[in-house]
Symmetry: C2
Subunit: 569 residues, 2 copies
């Protein structure tokens, strides 16, 4: 179902209900661009990586948000699904508030228009939103607007004095009249300014002035001043309209339901940053913040990349993965559309790829099929879809496609820290090319060269076991400088242990979430299925059922860079 | 007539003809945003102003360009007009070229969609363009693509060896066949990479590989290698398509016809920067560059702001100014639409404000009416529209709406440098508000305060004649620091004389223009009417006819800030 600013309020109760009843929520975002040209190095640390992605993606907008609420029906042993496709566009609520600028990437806009994206609908009908910082800014503005503006007075030129006098005569007539408001006849913006500055002095605060905009036309309107109560009600309405779509994300966060995405790193970044709270500046705070706001996240690209699917999922590109997951050996249960009213439900028979609502929908289908398969694979005896804990090892891991040896980031635990003892830092003169490096390292076999800048690179041995000989053999030359990866990291002063949860987050009461130093003391606003699922999961990961997974969760490093469809071309 | 990438080439001859035959060309641009939040101070120098506007506007795009070619018909004593509305959007011609990001302003996008702008058409059908830097970049890329890529070889994993062998069998079959090309069956991007890296070694350079993109799908296609001549022809076609709309602007520049805009500062900036050559970093070079590319420019907002129109033009907002200019005392000649074929011509009876083509059209109508009026006003005896020199004093002056006392910038002469002896620089503690400054200066009458930052401001006396007493009276306090405007400018080290033409521009042969140290030696590629008009004008400005103008061209400073419709609200 398509949601724009025209039908958001009328559909809100239905959406709230769908979230409340869901077993899990699948989401997807469309953006105006992905990442500006920041130099991510395949051997960046997760901290370096976070900083680069945060800064290089933050100026793009989320312009479409897909939400698919899946509810497992224990009676019919089938899923019911309700999907929503939200068009999102910020609004400038007042000319005195900052005029937001945002970035677009040429390739992304072209990609979306070719996928059928309706930009006219976006700019005309997009729903606004505000994160916490935006709400505070608007609230401050509304509060300040109440105070009388002390603009520096400008002298009234002689030739305008009679016009100003006439307008004040008209205002005095209006005050005596029973009219609700009156349009004042003014010849210029400067005249309007003169009237504003003289209002208090000439007639007091019984009336209020307002300049209305209509295209290039501006008119000055006078009305009777409102009571404090009336103003508060107007402000409440403005605020709710401005918060707009953020209300949906707050509902999702408060529900603490499992949230499922596909290759969802940017989706998580933007969903937090745009709709909830500005992304923290440091990586650990980000992990705490994300985990606190969305305590149970699954990334179907991470799950589908697992070794157990190596031979049965050919590609983890969403539409291709779905194709695999709808046929043998997968055998997902029936999913029925559950939208009431006139909205046409999504169907894989009429694919609408890259429409956020559709992509959220098929992400949910993928998730169900993976869940079913994994439940059977580990020999789970109960009703698989009543226990999300069968997915224990995949909890809160987000697929990560840029670092060579870190396949995912972990929101609720320290990240994988693979050995980089086979990686060397080398700096050299500007004339060096890849061939020079390959030649230098040729005694140790193939190497993977990742440039840091024009005069330095990380060089990784394909035959890792050769690493002890490298410095012995190469460290003597003065034509270049070589050191181990960890020596270089130590120089950068960036080799700090990654302790999750050692930093206190700001309290964010309006989201119903309090984060304390010990994450396990987190206070949940409702004690629903998924909240308790999380507790169960803590036990599960220590139980026998997880052993199979732990043995399967091998570091897929050697294959990753050579098997990833998205990253090569 | 609407021009998109679908009909640009077929309409190009007609457009070229229209430019060639025109008496003048009216232009207008629509942008994705105007200026990001840079702090322009009303007392910035023109140099400071240029730097701020250049940096704060350069990341927005021109998305629509209106061109209206007006031809005066001496027989019928009427104008014929052909108008074009170009949709413009850059294209990423190759995945290896940088993916351009651009800025949009929320308010602008909302404004345009409400004015009926078709963004879907823009992103789907927009014509690409390249400035000189973009052309060089693409040319370099095309040249380099010819060289065999020396990618670092990666080892072929055992399980892929047979697939790679099969593909090379297929390639060898293809070489023997008479087929033009063949799609190769590959299982992954990594396999394709392995094939690319082994091609030279296994079959030499008789065939060429290409990866084709279709949505998420990528296929590897092999074809027979082309001859140098065939490749050159392909590159020529790619280049011309990429240059796209820039060809039109080159035609306009080479034609040296008068170019007319309304409030055209940003139009000139972007037209040069996006379609011709990156804007110079310093202001003097910009003026030289702009004047060299467009030797005869008129800004109808500048003309319409002149004192002689004070009582007959109520507003210089384009549509409102047109309204004034179509009625008495103005009496413009007939303008007939001259588009051939099926395109529906523009008409003021069906206004399409903020469509670039329409705005260019009505800018042209305004210009004709102003030209006519001025010709009669100065008592010009000949056929006004056969002598653009009656507009002599308005040549190459662009309306400037941000600086308080500089009403226009002058492309071919030093700018107006009004006295700022009544302006003072003052710095103070963070606690100061406007009221404190107003209070401090109260012995000298009203002041205009323009904040530089939270702890400093320029303060201008409304009663200029009071300036000598200010420092005597206020310089003693230690609670703040005060100095004259010129003392402050001297400290900033920015008080340099503005000498136009003292800097040599880069030669830009591809535009048919050579700039030498002495601008008067400029070589024009064609000796047309407007080229010679310019020479005539040099004489005119020294003749009697210009005396009236010179007396009219009073500094309109005292009124400007209080009479400008756009800047107050």
């Amino acid at each position: 179902m398509e949601i724009t600013k025209s039908n958001l309020l009328s559909e809100l109760p239905g959406i709230e209900e769908a979230i409340k009843n869901a077993s899990f929520l699948a989401i997807d975002c469309e953006f105006t661009g992905l990442i500006t040209s920041c130099k991510i190095n395949p051997y960046d640390t997760p901290e370096e990586y976070y900083q680069k992605i945060r800064l290089c993606s933050k100026d793009f907008l989320v312009i479409q948000f897909g939400l698919s609420a899946f509810r497992y029906d224990t009676g019919s042993k089938s899923f019911k699904e309700k999907s929503y496709n939200f068009f999102l566009f910020p609004r400038k609520f007042n000319k005195n508030l900052p005029d937001e600028s945002f970035l677009c990437q040429v390739s992304t806009m072209t990609f979306l228009i070719n996928a059928g994206f309706d930009f006219n609908k976006l700019f005309k009908e997009g729903i606004p939103y505000l994160n916490r910082e935006g709400r505070l800014q608007l609230q401050t503005y509304l509060d300040e607007a109440q105070k009388i503006k002390n603009k520096e007075p400008v002298p009234i030129p002689d030739h305008l004095k009679s016009e100003i006098d006439d307008v004040f005569k008209e205002i005095k007539n209006f005050i005596k009249s029973g009219d609700e408001e009156r349009v004042l006849n003014t010849s210029s913006a400067f005249c309007r300014r003169l009237i504003y500055q003289s209002l208090q002095e000439r007639v007091g605060d019984v009336v209020t002035l307002e300049t209305r905009f209509e295209g290039d036309d501006r008119t000055l309107v006078v009305s009777h001043s409102k009571t404090g109560k009336e103003i508060a009600e107007i402000h409440r309405k403005i605020m709710r309209e401005a918060i707009g779509f953020s209300e949906i994300i707050q509902l999702i966060s408060k529900s603490r339901k499992p949230v499922v995405g596909h290759n969802m790193m940017l989706d998580v970044f933007h969903t937090i940053n745009r709709f909830l709270v500005k992304l923290p500046e440091d990586y650990k705070s980000f992990k705490d913040c994300a985990h606190c706001l969305f305590p149970c996240i699954f990334d179907t690209k991470h799950i589908g990349s697992h070794m157990i699917f190596k031979d049965i999922i050919q590609s983890t590109v969403l539409s291709k993965m779905l194709h695999s997951l709808l046929q043998k050996p997968f055998n997902p249960p029936v999913v029925e559309n559950d939208i009431v009213g006139l909205a046409k439900p999504y169907s894989v028979l009429e694919p609408r790829e890259h429409e956020a609502g559709y992509d959220a929908y098929i992400t949910g289908l993928c998730f169900i099929s993976l869940w079913d398969y994994i439940g059977k694979k580990i020999g789970y005896k109960g009703s698989v879809f009543e226990n999300i804990n069968v997915l224990g090892p995949y909890y809160n891991k987000i697929y990560q496609m840029h670092l060579r040896d870190v396949p995912y980031i972990c929101l609720d635990a320290p990240d994988v820290r693979p050995s980089r003892e086979h990686v060397f830092y080398i700096s050299f003169s500007k004339t060096w090319k890849v061939a020079d490096i390959v030649q230098l390292f040729s005694p140790f076999g193939f190497v993977f060269v990742s440039w840091i800048d024009a005069t330095s690179a990380y060089v990784a041995l394909n035959n890792r076991e050769n690493y002890p000989a490298v410095l012995k053999s190469l460290a003597k030359s003065t034509a270049y400088k070589i050191m181990t990866y960890s020596q270089h990291q130590a120089i950068l002063g960036k080799l700090k242990p990654d302790k999750v949860g050692d930093k206190e987050l700001e309290q964010s009461d309006d989201l119903g979430v309090v984060v304390t130093r010990d994450k396990r003391k987190r206070k949940s606003t409702n004690d629903d299925q998924s909240g308790s699922a999380q507790k169960q999961r803590k036990n599960l990961t220590e139980s026998n059922e997880s052993v199979l997974f732990n043995s399967l969760l091998v570091n897929k490093t050697p294959d990753k860079a050579f098997a990833e469809d998205d990253s090569w071309e």
